[in-house]
């Protein structure tokens, strides 16, 4: 058996509580899978052999003490994207963001979302690779080198949370956390045949997530089934006084109602989802999904998101503006990489050289873009215009959910969710887009709107594209109104039960 986690998180928990297996056994299997597969896949940037086993032993002791309340994520092995802070007291953890500037950075605290997982009984087994500071769509811009797609190692696994997606798809961990600023969870999940949920903005605390674009960033889970996705989402959501943008709402329970289908389900498929740039396999997967949902009794209607075409431009202005400010702190003064200076060098040299050496080319590109769009004289033309586009993009979604589409010639149904691809094509080959940032940015065409509108969305495995010897996963996403994580997981569950795509695992030697 190659898979360390043949069961769901819920099954693992039951097995542990029934004493059929120990948390140490579960953790060993996870660590063994990492040791075996990581050299070729490069998903993990750091593995916590000792700390994870120690933690597992504590949990076993807790299980032995039958008075202790059973924890919801008991024994769930978790990989963390390496832009999420983990206290360095845990296995001398680094929080590197795959950047030279933070290569040796030890965080003195653990992110709130991670703490919630730990408190719920999870075991952190590894930190995972990403595009530096979550800037990218392929997990190629990393000081640790690219992460490879477990379904085809000549291809990327998407990004920027590629390491987390790869780790879960390859069975190195039961589940993982990533962060989604413009699609960084949903796109790699689609290319690695996983479920992944980007929660409503404000649902999950950003405290401890190293900021890329603060008004867009959100932490979310990767899992191999909807039930695990719902469990993890329930665990990480909830108010956090340490994050001022955290919604003042209690944690939802997405699990108890999960198997109840949505009555009279209405799904909207935007005209824009059928872009000429789509790979035929993506369009085929979309059509197949529409057919599946129709068989399930859903009404699938055509909708219009007239401002979606401005998404990429608005996203790359807002995200880079915020990034230029968020990443200014990596100045070589308090922590992080500091350039060697000659006696004649001054403060400017310290800043310029430390940043030039510490930050990679894609990060520098985005910092320059963001600095430009915020500079005096350009602010209105770029930043303010992008904010206007952002409001219109959000209004398009609101209209779809309310059935009040302005462009429609007849009154429309109110949609429970919008169904569309996560990316225009399947995973591309390593290095294929590296020299053309614009084509890389266009990979995000279907995902950025969700972040701009602050909405929740879930990726569902929806088929494969056979390319020679490779079987490349295709993902679709369901986008819901704010706080509709419950409905989204229920719709995803309906699809999961009606199809078999998600049960297909990569063939790993």
């Amino acid at each position: 058996m190659t898979d360390a986690h043949p069961t769901t998180i819920a099954d693992t928990r039951s097995a542990l509580l029934d004493r059929k297996v120990s948390a140490v056994d579960i953790t060993r299997a996870s660590l063994a899978a990492i040791d075996r597969l990581n050299p070729s896949l490069n998903a993990a940037t750091q593995v916590f052999h000792d700390a994870a086993l120690q933690r597992a032993a504590q949990l076993d002791a807790r299980i032995a003490d039958r008075r202790a309340a059973p924890l919801p994520l008991l024994g769930a092995t978790i990989a963390l994207k390496d832009n999420i802070c983990l206290d360095s007291a845990y296995g001398d953890a680094r929080t590197t963001c795959a950047s030279r500037t933070l290569e040796h950075y030890r965080s003195p605290f653990t992110a709130s979302a991670v703490q919630r997982l730990i408190d719920a009984g999870a075991i952190i087994v590894a930190k995972t690779n990403l595009d530096e500071f979550a800037m990218g769509s392929s997990t190629e811009h990393s000081i640790f080198g690219p992460t490879r797609n477990p379904f085809d190692r000549t291809r990327v696994c998407g990004g920027s949370s590629g390491g987390s997606a790869c780790a879960v798809a390859a069975g190195m961990a039961a589940a993982a956390l990533g962060s989604d600023t413009g699609g960084s969870i949903r796109q790699p999940a689609g290319w690695c045949n996983l479920f992944a949920l980007k929660p409503t903005y404000g649902r999950v605390s950003r405290y401890g997530l190293v900021a890329y674009a603060s008004s867009l960033d959100q932490i979310g889970p990767f899992a191999r089934c909807v039930a695990d996705t719902a469990l993890l989402t329930s665990a990480i959501c909830g108010h956090d006084p340490a994050d001022s943008t955290s919604a003042g709402l209690p944690s939802p329970d997405l699990t108890s109602d999960l198997d109840r289908p949505i009555d009279k389900l209405v799904l909207g498929v935007p005209r824009q989802a059928r872009s000429a740039a789509n790979h035929p396999a993506v369009t085929a997967a979309l059509d197949a999904a529409i057919k599946t949902f129709s068989h399930l009794g859903a009404v699938v209607i055509d909708i219009d998101l007239p401002h979606a075409e401005h998404g990429i431009a608005a996203y790359y202005i807002i995200a880079t503006a915020e990034a230029s400010s968020n990443l200014a702190r990596f100045d070589g003064i308090r922590y992080g990489h500091r350039a060697e200076l000659a006696p004649s060098d001054d403060l400017f040299d310290l800043y310029a050289r430390s940043r030039a050496e510490g930050l990679g080319p894609e990060v520098q590109r985005r910092i320059m873009l963001g600095t430009h769009v915020l500079s005096s004289g350009y602010y209105d033309a770029y930043y303010n215009t992008a904010l206007k586009a952002r409001r219109l993009i959000k209004r398009d979604f609101d209209d779809a959910f309310a059935g009040t589409a302005r462009a429609a010639s007849r009154p429309s149904h109110a949609c429970h969710a919008v169904l569309m691809p996560t990316s225009p094509g399947p995973a591309f080959a390593l290095g294929e887009r590296s020299s053309d940032p614009m084509s890389m940015y266009l990979e995000d065409i279907y995902t950025v709107g969700v972040n701009l509108a602050g909405l929740p969305a879930i990726t569902i495995p929806a088929g494969f594209h056979r390319d020679g010897a490779s079987n490349l996963p295709i993902g679709l996403q369901l986008i819901g109104p704010a706080l509709a994580e419950g409905e989204l997981t229920r719709i995803a569950r309906m699809f999961e039960l009606a199809t078999s795509h998600s049960s297909i695992r990569p063939a790993l030697a």
Binding site: R206, T245, S325
Partner: protein, 542 residues
């Protein structure tokens, strides 16, 4: 070349007030400008009462460097700001006291620049929508030494302070690099910007002192200048009237980081003296790009300003709304709750003291300068009223006691070091009222009143802290003796000691009686009352 016939000064002021909240602007780390911060809790020698902490040495030296910090203060990756509501409420109070409107919606902006004392490489500030705006205060309303004058307030907004760059090792050792103390980083700062309504340095200093008193009364700041609780940045220029009647405006000079009233006055007066000559030399007048920034050097004689690099002009701060923080929404209920919590402000109290108690403007000004002293004074008045005195008389006599016996003791104790407040001398308002009552009853002399005041101050070596002034006076034999026989005995002794003076009085030279009164008082060992002795002597020498 024209001559300058007349110089009119024009000054606008920016003031940074470090707010005395317990924690910092956006984190839970303790605020060095907060009351009581920097006094180690376990130190038995540490002052116990909040107000005494202002006698402590500067927070910068009392608190070890880089101890009032946390991930947010240091701008660590992943750390986030959370707004301190108390800082917003304090700012609303100060804004209201300055007659400002409170914005129903204000916002946090990021001001970006690189400097080693700025942890995130941006400062969180309020740029577009300040919390308080559009206010005004009246100067010269109290003591009549200045004509009443209205000073407009453009805005008062909140921001966070930066850390401190140090160029020598703690303790003063030489180092070849700079080091940073982050204790001050993140301290809440209220920046108040006035209209250019000041016409002389007196007005500016009066405003600055008024602002300090307001902040103290509101508990918004301890207003200890030595600790940098207030920093001033005047914008100064002059309108020159030439001998041909034309007028010329000189370029604006902004003097940075003045942290005493003396340097504030000095910098303005220096600029008033220098700017006409500068214009004659370079011919530069007010216009875009002519503003310069100067520093203050008080080492040289009466002090001078000196040019600093015009870094302001080179910067593009790239302000944009901070996505980590929600806007501040102040609804009517919140605003009115804060308004209702504002105590009677010093300027109003000063007017009341002048009107109700007949104090001079100067006396009243001293009493309202410090919130603790002012409340102490008012407690003393209430204690006098409890002891059967009328309010007006109590106000007058309590002021005398505090401004004379009290100020004398406070000055002695301060001895040139940090100022000591009358309210911190260790004598309670009820005890002062007891002394005043004894004096009103004629039971003690004015000298005895002062002596009793001294005996009841800390460290309470001679008398316990809760001693009753009447008992102390009685036990120490300080009560005036009205016994006729005793008074007669002292007077006879005086006449015997001073026969010449007695003869002079008998001969009609009544001023000679002073020597006899003195001698009799001496004979009474302080128990006699001068008026009674004088009367008796007059009778005896008729």
């Amino acid at each position: 070349m024209h001559k300058v016939a007349q110089v009119e000064l024009v000054v606008g002021l920016e003031v940074h007030v470090e707010l005395a909240t317990r924690s910092k602007m956006f984190s839970r780390a303790p605020n060095p400008a907060g009351r009581g911060v920097g006094v180690p809790a376990h130190d038995p020698a540490a002052p116990r009462k909040d107000r005494e902490s202002c006698k402590d040495t500067s927070a910068g030296t009392a608190v070890p460097p880089n101890t009032l910090i946390d991930p947010t203060v240091l701008g660590l990756p992943g750390a986030l700001p959370v707004m301190n509501r108390a800082a917003v409420e304090m700012s609303m109070m100060v804004g209201m006291a300055l007659g400002c409107s409170i914005a129903p919606l204000s916002r946090w902006d990021r001001k970006s620049y690189f400097y080693p004392d700025l942890p995130k490489a941006y400062q969180i500030s309020q740029y577009q929508l300040p919390l308080c705006f559009d206010g005004a205060v009246e100067l010269g309303a109290g003591d009549g030494t200045l004509p009443a004058r209205r000073i407009g307030i453009i805005r008062a907004h909140l921001e966070e302070d930066a850390g401190k760059l140090l160029h020598e090792a703690p303790g003063g050792g030489r180092i070849d690099h700079s080091i940073v103390d982050w204790n001050r980083a993140g301290t809440p700062l209220l920046e108040i910007v006035t209209q250019p309504d000041f016409r002389n340095a007196d007005e500016v200093v009066e405003f600055a002192q008024m602002l300090r008193n307001i902040c103290r009364f509101l508990g918004a700041s301890e207003g200890v200048m030595q600790k940098g609780h207030m920093r001033f940045e005047p914008n100064i220029n002059c309108v020159l009237t030439l001998d041909d009647g034309h007028t010329v405006r000189t370029p604006i000079v902004e003097v940075k980081n003045l942290n005493s009233f003396k340097s504030l006055r000095g910098a303005i007066e220096h600029e008033r003296r220098e700017q006409p000559g500068r214009w004659l030399e370079d011919g530069l007048t007010l216009g875009p790009g002519t503003k310069t920034t100067r520093g203050w050097d008080d080492a040289a004689g009466e002090g001078r300003t000196f040019p600093q690099r015009g870094k302001e002009d080179a910067h593009d701060y790239r302000y944009f709304p901070d996505p980590d923080l929600a806007p501040v929404v102040v609804d009517e209920a919140w605003r009115e709750r804060i308004r209702a919590a504002i105590p009677e402000l010093p300027a109003i109290r000063r007017q009341r003291y002048i009107g109700e108690y007949g104090l001079s403007g100067k006396e009243a000004a001293v009493l309202v300068e410090n919130r603790e002293v002012c409340l102490y004074y008012e407690s003393t008045i209430e204690a006098c009223i409890e002891r059967g005195m009328d309010r007006s008389g109590a106000g007058r006599r309590a002021a005398n006691m505090i401004l004379q016996s009290g100020a004398k003791r406070a000055n002695e104790r301060a001895a040139g070091a940090e100022p000591v407040l009358v309210s911190d001398l260790g004598i309670r308002p009820e005890q002062i009222a007891g002394i005043i009552r004894l004096r009103e009853d004629g039971a003690i002399t004015s000298n005895t009143a002062d002596e009793l005041f001294g005996l009841l101050c800390s460290p309470h070596e001679s008398e316990p802290a809760d001693a009753d002034p009447g008992e102390v006076a009685a036990r120490r034999g300080l009560i005036v003796v009205r016994d006729d026989a005793a008074v007669s005995r002292w007077c006879e002794q005086a006449i015997a000691e001073q026969p010449q003076a007695a003869a002079d009085v008998r001969a009609g030279k009544s001023q000679a009686i002073g020597r006899l009164v003195g001698a009799a008082m001496k004979a009474s060992a302080g128990k006699g009352e001068a008026g009674a002795i004088r009367e008796r002597l007059m009778v005896m020498l008729k």
